[in-house]
């Protein structure tokens, strides 16, 4: 028999629990307490309202370029909601809602996007990695965290975020392969928002789903309605439980949509139609979840005002922060400052002092003549 058909298991589950009209599949409804449902909704709303506020702050020049999350609140919150504080969250660059939930204070995020180094500094007990820019490179780190957990026997699960475009990068495939071979406790969450800047998913891959890419690595993959927070939560909770029980990694593909710009430096009208955006606006994750809560009588009055007030107070604190101190750029280059950085820092301190002096003040101290410096700026 020279030629025969091998039959690798090949099927991908799709999960949807609450559709865009608010219809519920009660048999699949996950068990979440009323208080938790309200907490979840509040976190999604906070993500949305802060996102909108941040776009305005960016337009006013008060924060720099950032990647808005509008439309992806259910994908992010449904997934991180299933983690414990002691688990790890590894973001890409579009997880503001998830980061807030994990404990980043609003003003710290604003400081980050205003370029302050301390904005990227997680609290000592916070198990989150910083935002990372090179697409998919955070995924091997996440596997490393999971490997370390396995190495030490820690009861820890790692959840890593990335986009649809990231699934074309080598690091995505390498990370899934390593996770499969080592069977480490990790959950990969792909936010398939249909676009990688101007490149649509159809040009990114010929695969029918992104979830099925897990199968090549011997891992389960599941596709969920990423605008349905109940479905995202149910799939994530199962995957996290499985990882925690030592039953290995899972890839979750959240089918969602980026309603806003790629980043504040982007103009999406150049590459996608208004009709497409409107079609997805009808599937808004917040509207649908609000309707579900309304039916349960769980939607508190005045929640939006409360959330906006929280944001406004944080913006005020952010605005009160002093300008970033240039000398801090030398603080965390090496674990111990090498002499050449100490020398450069001192030189900069002098320069800043004399730059700030009034014009009739002392002239700039000029450096010693060539070839006669007592030390090199590179002396170590």
């Amino acid at each position: 028999m020279p030629r025969k058909v091998l039959e690798p298991r090949f099927s991908v589950e799709y999960l949807s629990i609450l559709d865009s009209d608010g219809n519920l599949d009660a048999a699949l409804e996950p068990e979440i307490s009323p208080e938790q449902l309200q907490t979840l909704y509040r976190a999604m709303l906070l993500g949305r309202r802060l996102d909108e506020r941040m776009v305005r702050l960016q337009r006013q020049g008060r924060v720099g370029t950032f990647a808005p999350i509008k439309g992806q609140e259910a994908s992010q919150m449904g997934s991180v909601f299933s983690l414990r504080r002691t688990d790890w969250m590894v973001p890409s660059f579009r997880e503001t809602a998830a980061m807030l939930w994990r404990g980043w204070p609003i003003e710290k995020l604003l400081l980050f996007f205003a370029g302050h180094l301390e904005g990227g500094q997680p609290a000592p007990d916070q198990r989150d990695l910083p935002i990372t820019i090179p697409v998919a490179t955070q995924l091997p780190h996440a596997v490393g965290l999971a490997y370390a957990a396995q190495y030490r026997g820690d009861d820890v699960v790692v959840m890593a975020f990335f986009g649809d475009g990231a699934t074309s990068e080598g690091d995505f495939h390498e990370a899934l392969n390593f996770a499969g071979v080592w069977h480490v406790p990790i959950v990969f969450v792909c936010q398939n928002n249909q676009w990688a800047i101007s490149v649509p998913i159809k040009k990114q891959t010929h695969s029918r789903t992104l979830a099925q890419k897990a199968l090549a690595y011997g891992l389960p993959g599941i596709q969920v309605d990423g605008n349905d927070v109940l479905a995202v939560y149910a799939a994530s909770r199962d995957a996290v439980e499985q990882a925690r029980a030592g039953d290995g990694p899972t890839l979750i593909e959240c089918v969602t949509y980026r309603l806003g710009v790629h980043t504040t430096a982007d103009d999406p009208t150049k590459y996608r139609s208004e009709e497409e955006v409107q079609e997805w606006e009808r599937k808004d994750p917040l509207t649908r979840f609000a309707a579900y809560l309304q039916k349960k009588n769980l939607l508190p009055e005045g929640l939006e005002q409360e959330v906006d007030a929280e944001i406004a107070a944080a913006v005020t604190r952010f605005e009160a922060a002093a300008a970033a101190d240039p000398l801090r750029m030398f603080d965390h280059v090496y674990a111990e400052p090498p002499p050449h950085l100490v020398a450069q820092r001192e030189e900069m301190r002098e320069r800043l002092r004399s730059d700030n002096a009034p014009p009739e003040g002392e002239p700039h101290p000029s450096p010693p003549m060539r070839g006669q410096r007592s030390t090199s700026r590179w002396r170590n």
Binding site: L129, V143, G144, Q150, H332, Y334, R370
Partner: protein, 329 residues
């Protein structure tokens, strides 16, 4: 003191550090059962088991990234590159993650990782397999870069690198693995990173060289001694942070300098060291600094071409004669 090969010295360093600190583990291609492409990890799998001596799929970016992740939470990975030529596949992980994470996290996550393996010109390994790779790393703030020339340095510096809290690029050499030398037995023997060493004392000219080039410079010095030229040889050992103090001190004494590097020259270590000498000791110089580098072409495969491309003893001798205004014999 025991006499051992450079390879054995590295192996002992790994073994001692793994015994000393349970957070240290080795990860890479062929490091376990096969004991390393160049047998540096011999016996480690047997002593420490597969959790601490990890054979990986062939994916340099992936296992370097895994090492970085594990380092963030306090493990101390030693990542083996089969050769540093293949570290190019992990360049983003090294430059954008290993070197930056401590900075970007405001000091929350330092990366105590060592990335080690052979690099530099070897014997007939050709264009993609025989390059001086340190140039790609020493430019990057946040990385330390080590090039150990002797068995003693191999042991002492690797142990320091493993104990260091920063990412360290540690580039060995195929051509040195079999070199023998004295190595202290003391498991607490280390050589701090960032300290150059004077390999040979002299009074007329300072030659700065490391790895295979350091040995070639020693041969050149022997020959030049016969002509009455006394050569001092400084081996930087750590390229970043670099001990410019020892280099400058030597130049202030001899008033002449020749920098030797095996790589292709342009914007290489020789440029950096020459610039430092000019900044700090211009008025001490009695002659322009000379650089002796490999030719600016990819490494050829043929043995005679390879020899012609790489700096030779004769080229070093000629450069020294020029800066000493000597005619030669």
């Amino acid at each position: 003191m025991a006499v051992m090969t450079y390879r054995e010295a590295l192996n002992v360093a790994l073994r001692e550090e793994m015994r000393r600190d349970p957070r240290v583990f080795v990860i890479g291609e062929e490091v376990g059962l096969y004991e390393g492409a160049y047998k540096v990890t011999q016996g480690l799998l047997k002593e420490f088991g597969p959790q601490r001596v990890v054979d990986t799929p062939i994916a340099e970016s992936g296992f370097t990234g895994v090492g970085i992740g594990a380092a963030m939470v306090g493990l101390r990975p030693v990542v083996e590159m089969m050769t540093f030529n293949f570290a190019m596949l992990a360049l983003d992980q090294i430059v954008n993650s290993a070197a930056k994470m401590y900075y970007m996290s405001g000091g929350q996550y330092n990366i105590p990782i060592v990335i080690r393996g052979p690099g530099g010109p070897a014997h007939q390994l050709a264009a993609q397999h025989s390059q001086s790779m340190e140039v790609y790393f020493y430019h990057v703030p946040g990385l330390k870069v080590v090039r150990p020339s002797t068995p003693m340095d191999a042991k002492g510096l690797l142990k320091s690198a493993i104990r260091d809290d920063n990412p360290v690029i540690f580039i060995e050499s195929e051509t040195l693995y079999a070199v023998k030398g004295e190595v202290p037995d003391d498991p607490e023997f280390i050589i701090p990173l960032g300290q150059a060493v004077v390999r040979r004392e002299g009074t007329d000219v300072t030659v700065i060289a490391y790895m295979g080039m350091m040995y070639r410079a020693l041969e050149a010095a022997e020959e030049l001694a016969k002509e009455g030229i006394s050569v001092e040889i400084v081996d930087p050992r750590t390229l970043r942070p670099m001990d410019t103090e020892t280099i400058i001190g030597s130049v202030r004494k001899t008033h002449r300098a020749v920098v030797v590097e095996a790589g292709a020259g342009f914007a290489g270590m020789g440029s950096e060291i020459s610039a430092s000498i000019t900044e700090c000791a211009f008025d001490d110089l009695d002659a322009p600094i000379e650089r002796v580098t490999g030719e600016n072409a990819p490494m050829p495969y043929a043995r005679n071409l390879e020899r012609a491309k790489t700096p030779s003893k004769e080229k070093i001798v000629d450069a020294v004669r020029r800066v000493c205004h000597a005619q030669g014999s």
